[in-house]
Symmetry: C2
Subunit: 236 residues, 2 copies
């Protein structure tokens, strides 16, 4: 994990591309990169290779490394997500990610109801209980913690690796919401009830019911965000 020069240069250059400092169409020469980041040829080349596989750049002989259009990027790469969340594009990124999670989670709840192991069903119920308790205690930080754990477990229990991979995204969206002061001072009772409903439905193996409850959750979240967008117009 986290190697030396390679990681540093990758982060620096990747972030620069992700946040738009380097506009699409920009041409970088390999030698130029070595100077700018004080990196050896080896490091510079490997970084470019990685960016290339993320579809952030393309390399052409006799031309150089070309920054691609955002539409061509692999937007699911954890690194790119990180760069976008850390930069000025954070609001737009959070919107995009929230749309993604609200699309996935109801479906994930359905498959969790169909495929979760007995142990997972039990743990989900337990998490629901703890969620309700911390909500009653108005303890926002532990509420967030259990909320993240709840959604994480659900996505994992869906048995679909592509769903499971979105755990981090969901965690980021949930954290971003509370962190931004966008959450009500205390968790909404309806939301808590819906979480319990999801857990119960999954425990009972009722796919439709689990999906419906989870859809209600994300719709509620969506409406909150929309309300907020009206108050403070974001970047489109």
């Amino acid at each position: 994990m986290g190697n030396d020069r390679h990681e540093q240069v990758l982060d620096a250059l990747g972030a620069a591309i992700a946040n738009g400092s380097l506009e699409p169409g920009t041409v970088l020469r390999s030698e130029e990169l070595q100077e700018r980041f004080g990196a050896s040829r080896t490091v510079a080349r490997e970084v470019v290779r990685v960016l290339e596989t993320m579809q952030l750049t393309s390399s052409k002989r006799r031309v150089g490394v070309i920054v691609r259009e955002p539409g061509e990027w692999n937007h699911y790469d954890p690194r790119l997500i990180r760069w976008q969340l850390d930069g000025p594009t954070r609001p737009a990124a959070l919107t995009t990610l929230n749309e993604l999670r609200s699309a996935i989670e109801p479906c994930a709840a359905r498959y969790a109801a169909l495929r979760a192991t007995p142990e997972e069903r039990g743990r989900l119920g337990a998490l629901g209980e703890r969620l309700a308790r911390s909500a009653k205690a108005r303890d926002l930080s532990t509420f967030l913690e259990f909320d993240i754990a709840f959604h994480d477990l659900l996505l994992t229990a869906s048995g679909n690796p592509m769903f499971a991979q979105l755990s981090e995204v969901v965690a980021e969206v949930l954290t971003g919401r509370t962190g931004h002061g966008l959450m009500p001072p205390e968790p909404q009772p309806e939301a808590v009830a819906l979480h319990l409903e999801v857990a119960a439905a999954v425990a009972a193996g009722e796919a439709d019911r689990a999906e419906r409850a989870m859809r209600d959750i994300v719709v509620q979240a969506r409406d909150e965000i929309a309300l907020l967008a009206d108050a403070a117009p974001g970047v489109e």
Copy 2:
């Protein structure tokens, strides 16, 4: 595009990992890779770097390159998807991808209804018409072509880059379905009607209606697949 040695070695090694020939936990030494693929140190290193960013491997000093658990892979990388579709894991991969698309597309239809440009709305309607015509003519291959174009446009029009990126996945799923002889000999009239409904809803900017119609489409597809899974039990 498509460089020389690098691409070849990457494909060979990546596919070997993706299809399970190299089990998780397997340790590869850099030198070993050079021999096995007849590649230079440079190429071998860059390939490993790329696999590392895809989370397919991790490298540790004094140990080597370690193949990671499938659960840790970045399952959204187009290359990995390709490798899984081309290997013996194809059926399982198609199932996973189909679940993903059926989760996303209704949501994408909603946002398309809200955000598509006038031009996109028009083109979607036109594609719907052509879809209906080729269905009536029982021309399966052009039907598939328009079907792919329809879903592609819808995802793009959603305005969410993460949705848009799934165009290729949807194309693959749709193609895989017809190619596998899993489609009825002629497109189902209901499906065609639903596509027209989606196009109409998007044109009218009716988000709920567009989402509902698209959900009906993917549910129908899901039930078809489920029916098939009963007939010929697939790999879980």
